[in-house]
């Protein structure tokens, strides 16, 4: 009951390659979880299958006890599962305001010819709240695509939050950021984790160990370890396949 996401026997093959090999893992509520692992371990594939961008070959995914296995992406998003992408993806040719506006509109439905005044006001109020939370207020009218990589990553999280998700999947949220941007983003993720359950994929071990309360380690499409940061940092299998290399450097 206290699990937000339950994954059982999940497999995904690309031709002969097993990208996900019988994955069994549960993610708890009220927890900031992380998935780590070497490149090609299947972390992003797992996100893609959870969100419905890829169809699984076998297995089941329960989100808040609802079966979401192989549902269309937009339906899964509507159920309250938000996601950001590894390659940062926003509406580049629209302003930051329009980016947030369309996400807020989407959560209220778009198949209509106009909004009621109260709905319009609600959207604008929420838009200001969210831009406040992410320090985007002075960038609202800028073309989103013209902003820095760090800003775009933050806007992507802000867009995801517009849908009021119960669970937020962040794929390498601080990848390619400078030190100050990283610090700011980590602060934001910490703040978000107080109200929303979060699962992140991240290669920056410092960030992962400072953020996550629960860590899953993947390698070659399988889960090789799952536990608290202390348990993971002492796990021999993990040190051999992943963490160890870093310590040697």
């Amino acid at each position: 009951m206290s699990e937000i996401l339950k994954i059982t026997n999940l497999s995904k093959n690309f031709g002969g390659m097993k990208a996900l090999d019988n994955v069994n893992v549960n993610f708890k509520k009220n927890t900031l979880s992380a998935i780590i692992g070497p490149n090609g371990a299947g972390k992003t594939t797992l996100f893609n299958v959870i969100c419905g961008s890829l169809k699984s070959n076998t297995g089941q995914i329960l989100f808040n006890d609802t079966n979401i296995t192989n549902l269309p992406t937009h339906k899964i998003s509507r159920l309250g599962l938000g996601r950001t992408l590894q390659v940062k993806s926003i509406f580049n040719n629209l302003s930051v305001r329009e980016n947030l506006y369309i996400a807020l509109q989407s959560s209220r439905g778009v198949f209509r010819l106009s909004n009621s005044l109260s709905c319009e006001k609600e959207i604008n109020d929420e838009l200001l709240q969210i831009s406040d939370l992410f320090n985007l207020k002075d960038k609202l009218d800028a073309d989103a695509g013209s902003l820095s990589h760090g800003d775009i990553s933050i806007i992507e999280m802000a867009i995801a939050l517009c849908l009021k998700p119960n669970f937020l999947l962040l794929d390498e949220p601080i990848c390619g950021m400078g030190p100050s941007e990283t610090e700011q983003t980590i602060k934001i993720i910490k703040k978000l984790s107080k109200t929303t359950d979060i699962l992140i994929i991240e290669h920056d071990m410092e960030a992962v160990f400072s953020l996550a309360e629960d860590i899953v380690v993947m390698s070659q499409g399988s889960i090789i370890a799952h536990g608290t940061p202390e348990q993971i940092s002492k796990d021999e299998k993990v040190i051999n396949t992943y963490l160890g290399e870093e310590e040697e450097v």
Binding site: G82, F91, N92, I102, Q105, S106, V110, S114
Partner: protein, 327 residues
Amino acid sequence: MEYSLVPKVKSIIQDKRKLFYLFSIITLAVPIIIPVFFDPYWIKLYSEILIWSLLAASVNILFGYLGLLSFGQALFFGFGMYGVAIAITKFGFGLWGSFAFGIFASTLMALISGSLAVRLTWHYFAIITVIFSLIFYFVALTWKPITGGDDGLPFSPPNILDLGNFKISLTNSTHQYYFIIFFVLLCYYFILKLLESPLGKAFIAVKENNLKSELIGLDTYKIKLLGFVFAGLIAGVSGCLLAFYGRYASASYMFYHVSGEAVVWTIIGGVGSFLGPIFGTGLLIVLREELSHTWDHYLLIVGALVILIVIFFPNGISGLLKKMLKN
């Protein structure tokens, strides 16, 4: 004087709604203004341009706002035309009944072909739209008892309104002009409403980033299908109006050349610009009218012009106008 006027003009150009009102006023006044300076023939040509511009507008809805390049809008145009002509000649419908039938036929066709086509993107989408229009072009060409084939299907238009002594009829050129522009303006008003609506914003989101749109919970298939059906409806109205204007329907209007021409008009006018299709259609039809009598190969000039505009003014005439007004 000029100092105060420029910002006003700018605000009109930038505001779609004001632009629409300006366009409506000009269009309403055309039959009064044109005879003062030009031959009345230009009034007729202007209404023809407006009809064709709706076909370009339907391309613009798909290409400019949803990012779907259709080379098959002539199919819905043709269904509108034949809907009217067949309803009048074969079923004995009146003007309004045949108009409704034409719009219904084209919208239904758009729903059927769209439900398959919008699953595809880019060149695959463009190809399937061409294929659909080719299939029905050949059907119309060969099914002579119903469509008249090559010769087309002529008819004499029923009255718009018949109250015994008082008749409003398409045979009266003034009545015909206002009949046509009423529906053209109505269509542009609907397009405007759509662009301002939440659905119109979803169109832009889908065009900009399909995957992201799904991740924010937008049903991109349904959105594209609705756009496709709406564009088909606008193309259908355009076809109905041209049928009333020309008093006949013909398979040649369903050929993909016609769709291609509408794409060119849209690009010249400015893809994704609300009234761009009118500028593009207007320029190229006027060029055709002026040049085709004097030089058989006038299309060379049109081709060169299109190449120049695409290279130097990728946002078309409306982009150029906006740029000029900014400076």
